[in-house]
């Protein structure tokens, strides 16, 4: 659908990195919002997110983080717009500007430190032993080390410090 970009010849703040020009074909039918499990209970209105994202920078909107990425909107959009993918792109734009929720920052730091998002605690280590499940410190250590190298290489540790 890239023809719409060329014809319109306009540049939107989020639009370029999104590489998702089909978003311009949205006709605001609201199927996405009607399918949204989160929108039932929160201020997330995915139809508005789609509309606003082509007009302005919405990195500040807390609603971006209320999406469970369930893909209902994307599956049902009659225009075939990759709505959930767009949410992911909008989120990474927000993250680049340092807009990271404290709980997410914490999980990221677990990953940097341990190679896991939910690290093993003492209680569950004991349970693992009781169940005769592997407690393979050498393999885990290697994983930890390599993940650290990769996260430094991609600049992720810097990104979450922002």
């Amino acid at each position: 659908m890239s023809y719409s970009v060329i014809r319109l010849n306009i540049s939107f703040p989020i639009f370029n990195p999104m590489k998702n020009p089909d978003i311009l074909t949205c006709f605001q039918c609201g199927t996405c919002h009607a399918s949204c499990p989160s929108g039932k209970y929160t201020s997330l209105n995915i139809r508005k997110i789609v509309r606003d994202s082509i007009k302005k920078d919405i990195s500040d909107q807390p609603e971006l983080w209320m999406c469970t990425t369930c893909y209902n909107c994307q599956e049902r959009c009659p225009r075939g717009i990759k709505v959930t993918d767009a949410v992911l792109t909008l989120r990474s734009e927000a993250v680049k500007k340092g807009k990271i929720l404290p709980a997410h920052r914490k999980v990221c730091n677990f990953l940097i430190k341990t190679g896991q998002s939910i690290p093993l605690d003492d209680k569950h280590l004991e349970i693992r032993k009781k169940l005769n499940l592997r407690t393979d410190e050498a393999s885990w250590k290697k994983a930890r080390k390599e993940v650290k190298v990769l996260l430094r290489s991609t600049g992720f540790d810097e990104l979450v410090k922002r």
Partner: protein, 302 residues
């Protein structure tokens, strides 16, 4: 078909090891050869890392994929999040040379290279496709005559363009597996709706996530079931710990939550403890008694 390596992820080994135990026992009983992907790290969780930085997400996922490439095995996942991260990353990297080069430049620093030689499987679609409902049913002596609410979980099915497992609106393959154990998959309103945990919502907005869980649990309870069957430890956690949380607002569900491998374990004659039901937050002894009665061949009233 290649042999399989089991990718356990973070949540199962570190919070619900009972699911891991059940999986190992079930695979063994069914004669399916599968060894651990030993040096694996976080998949990494799609909800957060995929949103944060695509290249980081792809790079960490590719490291896990390469570990399996080195063993020349496919990857077997038992979590919808791991399935989604690893399968999507694998598809993207197989098809996009630019991203593949970028990722390989990072992987080079740990002496690895992504080549794109393996596939990523989820235990539900694997059992359905490669083992088959009939063969699974034949392996079961005493059918579990119970009523189950099946929860597929979003990322097992969607995006359908990548999963290629059929319709996400009224899927059937998971129900067929559940019914192969003798259980009845009971229809309920909102069956394909999200449990509320995904996308980093659970970790950052717990209350919000529980509103979605409550929506589901209310409808599941209304349908009158003995248990919930899931295919993902995040959904599992959301339903299991969620019930305890929702008790504070006056709800009383007490519905045991089982990963499919736990249900299958019971159907293959393992005890509730052996499949790790005692490690759940919700421990429903009436349910466990009912299972024991069925396993011991006593007549139960349903």
């Amino acid at each position: 078909m290649k042999k399989l390596s089991l990718f356990t992820g973070c949540l199962i080994p570190n919070r619900y090891p009972g699911i891991e135990k059940a999986t190992m026992l079930v695979l063994e009983r069914l004669g399916i050869k599968c060894s651990y992907l030993k040096e694996a790290a976080c998949c990494p969780a799609p909800g957060i890392y995929r949103s944060f930085d695509k290249i980081t997400w792809l790079t960490l996922a590719s490291r896990n994929l390469v570990l399996a490439e080195e063993k020349d095995t496919d990857i077997l996942t038992i979590c919808n999040g791991c399935f989604s991260s690893l399968m999507d990353a694998n598809n993207i990297l197989k098809n996009d040379a630019g991203l593949r080069n970028e990722v390989n430049a990072h992987l080079q620093k740990i002496g690895k290279e992504y080549r794109g030689t393996i596939e990523v499987r989820h235990i539900i679609e694997f059992l359905h496709t490669d083992i088959g409902v009939k063969k699974l049913g034949d392996a079961i002596d005493k059918p579990l005559e119970i009523r189950a609410a099946v929860h597929y979980g979003c990322h097992l099915l969607k995006p359908t363009r990548d999963r290629k497992l059929g319709s996400a609106e009224c899927p059937v393959f998971f129900d067929e597996l559940v019914e192969a154990t003798g259980a009845k998959s009971v229809p309920y309103e909102g069956k394909t709706s999200c449990c509320g945990a995904g996308g980093g919502v659970r970790s950052a907005m717990l209350e919000t996530s529980f509103r979605m869980t409550e929506y589901k649990l209310d409808r599941i309870q209304k349908a009158g079931v003995d248990c919930i069957i899931d295919a993902c430890p995040f959904c599992h956690l959301q339903y299991d710990a969620g019930q305890v949380e929702l008790e504070k607002s006056g709800k009383n569900y007490d519905i045991p939550v089982l990963h499919f491998t736990q249900l299958l374990g019971l159907a293959l004659g393992l005890t509730s403890d052996e499949v790790g039901l005692h490690l759940n937050e919700i421990v429903n002894l009436k349910f466990e008694e009912k299972i024991a009665q069925i396993q011991n061949g006593n007549k139960t009233e349903i």
